[in-house]
Symmetry: none
Subunit: 155 residues, 2 copies
DNA sequence: CGGGATGATTTGGGATACCATGGGGCCTTA
DNA sequence: TAAGGCCCCATGGTATCCCAAATCATCCCG
């Protein structure tokens, strides 16, 4: 398994360190990236994190824009300019910078959420709320699908 | 990591010296350039800086314009003509020239912002404002991309 | 089916190294 | 000789490393 799956909640210690969940560390190790690449999500109050896979996604996105264009500069600023490459200690922990914690509203606990090629870092309460809302959206979508197609519910 | 990522704010001392953030120094060292190449940004009240990678980007840009054209001369003047190659002292500090500081509105602090192959130098308050604007622009850009492609959000 | 027991993982803390910053003084240059 | 640039060393604060304790999960045996 080479992608981030499931979610884990860990606490920050007095020095602000958090353990990256072991399953996620395994994915990162296979990815081959030294450290943890983290940046604020563009539209959620959460952090996106990952390794080379995430980096190359960002690179690809930047390459679609012409050099020296405003769009590209803006994107580089909004992504690379506010990113951090966090060092991982020998126990698999990282320390989030102040600005990252502020952005995500993190204080003493964080929830790591698998997203396939990347992972997200949430303040636990916010993640619960986000999850509830996402489920509601999905239920709504499912209901609409069931109305247009005349198939029976898939449970 | 071979690109400029994240941002750091450092202060100028009484002699006008600023430390280049250590992670950026590491990138410059790998790039192999002696010193720090700096020029005013073409359209922002900030400075662009870097090493050989930035230099070769500029070269490539100039080559796209026909030799002896007014455009090329103008661009060469605006980039190369106002560039400085700053010496880096043994502690990794540089001294910005008066004209560079004036252009960027720098007084006693600067923010170094990673942009991948190059970095930018900002007066901290101006950078905050610029970042807000860049994020807004990117959100808009992302919305457009999501409409054209039917892929899932990249966050 | 319950109770340990074993190994992995997370959490904690002290020591250490690195880095941003400040200042002295020499040496060049005008 | 005065000014400025440059090199070197000193210091405080912070991040990193290494070792130890506690927590948790899994597996095995009774």
């Amino acid at each position: 398994m080479d992608r981030f799956v499931s979610n884990f909640t860990n606490r920050l210690d007095a020095k602000g360190r958090v353990s990256i969940p072991a399953p996620f560390r395994a994915v990162l190790a296979r990815d081959g990236f030294e450290g943890l690449y983290v940046h604020p999500s563009l539209d959620l109050k959460a952090l996106d994190a990952g390794g080379n896979a995430l980096l190359s996604d960002i690179d690809r996105l930047l390459e679609t824009l012409s050099p020296y264009s405003d769009e590209r500069d803006g994107l580089a600023t909004a992504l690379l300019g506010v990113s951090e490459v966090l060092k991982v200690d020998s126990e698999g922990r990282v320390v989030l910078t102040e600005s990252l914690k502020t952005y995500a509203g993190v204080s003493d606990q964080v929830t790591f959420v698998g997203q396939g090629r990347k992972l997200q870092i949430w303040e636990p309460e916010r993640f619960r709320a986000h999850l509830d809302q996402a489920r509601a959206t999905v239920r709504e979508l499912k209901r609409r699908l069931e109305q247009t197609t005349s198939r029976e519910p898939a449970s």
